[in-house]
Amino acid sequence: MNDPEQNYLSAGWTVRSWLLTTDHKRIGILYLLSILVFFAIAAAAAAMMRLELLTPQGDLVLSETYNKLFTMHGVLMVWFFLIPSIPTVLGNFIIPLMIGARDVAFPKLNLLSWYLFIIGGCFALHAIVLGGVDTGWTFYTPYSTAYSNSHVLEMAAGIFIAGFGSILTGLNFIITIQKMRAPGLTWFRLPLFIWSMYSTSIILVLATPVLAITLLLMSIERIWGVGIFNPKLGGDPILFQHLFWFYSHPAVYIMILPGLGVVSEIIPCFSRKKIFGYKFVAFSSVAIAVLGFLVWGHHMFVSSQSIYAGMAFSILSFLVAIPSAIKVFNWTATLYRGSISFNAPMLYALSFIGLFVIGGLTGLFLATLAVDVHLHGTYFVVAHFHYIMVGGMVTAFMGGLHFWWPKITGRLYPEKLAQLAAIILFIGFNLTFFPQFILGYLGMPRRVHEYAPEFQLYNVLSTAGASILAIGYLLPLIYFLWSLFYGKKSSANPWRATGLEWKTSSPPPKHNFAETPVVTEDAYEYPPLNEIGEHPDA
């Protein structure tokens, strides 16, 4: 136990020591491995779709298969990769370290979350193996309840079960952050990643139950024919959309807030400077979480919802853009008079800002009522949310993974190769998704496996970009694996970063800290810089 060489990885080598672990760090690793499996499957579905869309004719797969591919891609990416990505991997690993705690508040519950996630995931995969689901990830009624001849119920069961894992994770994080901070670590000394994870957790706890209710009601109608959503049974199909988006719009913020938190960690570290406007960045996370609950109707501007409701949702959607803009301005201001180095995490953070700003600005197009009437249901929407979720969240996840890789594994990744991968990802991403904005304004509907010939050029560009994107994802996979065995050993704090997670060894010991740390200063208190950008006093 007191062996200084002993760390959380060497604390046990048996399968049992992993599958029954209550160590938040090991659970983080379990999540990392499992979400990568789902990512790989969902990415393969996307690759098939992009290949199909090379030509206007539906020539590679049947329309039925295509519909199942995009459903599988959406369901797996949203619920089994993006939502768990940063929270359950980096959040689980880093939150207790960052706040100077030995573990999360409820370690056994934490393990239960992972098992629920895996059971849910098995249901989802089983539904896919049996023949798949063709409703789209949105499960719109009455198609999903009365017309689809696919494995809707089993897929819904998978999402339902995995959702409880999310709720428990959120609960665990809220209580951990609330009760287990080290002495002296007051709210306004917390790293901004903690603020964003706290906001995310609140959404997980409050919104996910609504998804569970919605899927349950849908299943009741599908199994017993109880009229809830199907008008032929006296139900209301628009009610389903209200319920679904009441969860799924906040869920979009589950899929971006953690990314904003990661970037707020990386930017100060690689600028060697305190973040500009700490409180504004912190409260903007809370503002996003709160306002995010009030904008769901912007998915329904053409659904036949009242036009006055449309106006209210439009104005609120414009307002939710403001806190995101505040973050971007503050990050830019942080660079001013800093000492900037371009390690891979920083490249990811910078490319995050670029893609997130484009995603955010195109969100304004969609929040504008009259423009949304044209763009709703087209490729413009597809491009927009991929800029936020892939350009934003996945880029931030990659940045965070590189940033904390030395802490997690005790090894350094190869820097030059990682910088190259970050640049490849940025180029591949833009080539894949930027043409889709143009396609959308031209009027190409989404979720089609055949399209008009005038749309072909942009689809070819997009497919070409996707192949570059694939290289950008495979490269890190290879060098990360390589670094596990051959990477240079990392010191406790290879980035000379602030934050408690860097004060313990890499990889951390089983119980994180030999002694409970005491915090005496604000977050990101980097020493003053001299004129060539070094800390002379440090």
Binding site: S63, Y147, A370, L442, G533
Partner: protein, 314 residues
């Protein structure tokens, strides 16, 4: 392979939407420049190891934060108002439109003209005339989308929705279903033919239709037995329907309802939900007995007799 950057602009709404679109593009370019020019400058000037003045300034943080919160908020509200104004105009049809019915079903569009012409996956309309579509679905949710008109409206089963536009250029344009609706969703599309008014008249005449939509509705009205009660109202007590359309109807719960399309639809499918004052809830439901096409024909008939002044009772 061609690479269009911009779709055809063929309706009054299209021009208005495009104005906002270009304003948003301009604004986006401005914001991108505002964020990324300084950022790139900082990245270059303050890169590690380069000599630069890095003495920290005591900036008035709060004033800066308030500035870059308030200004974007005001801009956002301005765009909201512009978008909302155009949306309002797009959603509320003007008077004296050309009314056409559209029924969506997996996976085709059926179109009915008042003159009795029917077409499938094609829509013929005259140029420079406001057209109002009444949309109905036989099964799941569809969405009727004409990109060149920048107009879209979901077609929701169990209710009518409407969509209007005024085409400004003669030509042919694609329309799509833009709400995923199952296996052959990709094939659920068609062509809008915007014609000169005279060509449109000729096209209608070439259809050689026997009955107008209202006449077909009248035939249905007899075949389904509606006339048994609603015409010979001295035998079985049922409310008269002449002159009903768009009038206020007194209900048995002492409220009033306007006899619009929604009311007529509900009264046929859910006759006991809104009972006219002074009548018994005797009418059977026609839910499941008539298709959306037939329902629209019946309503066309009710509208046609609705316009006549009702005979005054002595």
């Amino acid at each position: 392979m061609n690479f269009p950057l911009f779709p055809q602009e063929a309706s009054t709404a299209a021009a208005q939407t495009d104005h906002i679109y270009f304003a948003l593009l301009g604004l986006s370019a401005f914001i991108l420049a505002l964020v990324f020019l300084p950022m790139i400058f900082f990245l270059f000037k303050y890169r590690s190891g380069k000599i630069a003045n890095r003495a920290q300034l005591n900036l008035p943080t709060n004033k800066i934060e308030v500035t870059w919160t308030v200004i974007p908020t005001l801009i956002a509200l301005g765009i909201f108002a512009w978008g909302a104004k155009v949306y309002f105009d797009e959603e509320v049809p003007p008077a004296n439109t050309l009314e056409i019915n559209v029924v969506g079903k997996q996976w085709m569009w059926k179109i009915q003209h008042q003159e009795g012409n029917h077409e499938i996956n094609e829509l013929h309309i005259p140029v420079n005339r406001a057209v109002k579509l009444t949309l109905a679905s036989e099964d799941v949710i569809h969405s009727f989308y004409i990109p060149a008109f920048r107009i879209k409206q979901d077609v929701v089963p169990g209710r009518f929705t409407t969509e209007w536009f005024q085409p400004t250029r003669v030509g042919t344009y694609r329309f799509y279903c833009s709400e995923y609706c199952g296996t052959d969703h990709s094939k659920m599309q068609g062509i809008v033919f915007v014609m000169k008014p005279q060509d449109y008249e000729n096209w209608l005449a070439r259809g050689n239709v026997r009955n107008t939509l209202a006449q077909s509705g009248e035939n249905l009205f007899r075949r389904l037995g509606c006339s048994g009660c609603h015409v010979n109202s001295n035998v079985i007590h049922a409310p008269p329907l002449e002159g009903l359309y768009e009038k206020l109807v007194p209900l048995s719960d002492k409220t009033f309802v306007r006899a619009d399309d929604k009311y007529l639809r509900d009264s046929i499918l859910l006759p006991t939900s809104q009972v006219v004052a002074g009548y018994q809830p005797l009418m059977p439901t026609y839910e499941g007995r008539i298709s959306e096409d037939e329902l629209l024909q019946l309503i066309a008939y009710l509208k046609s007799i609705g316009k006549e002044t009702p005979p005054k009772k002595p």
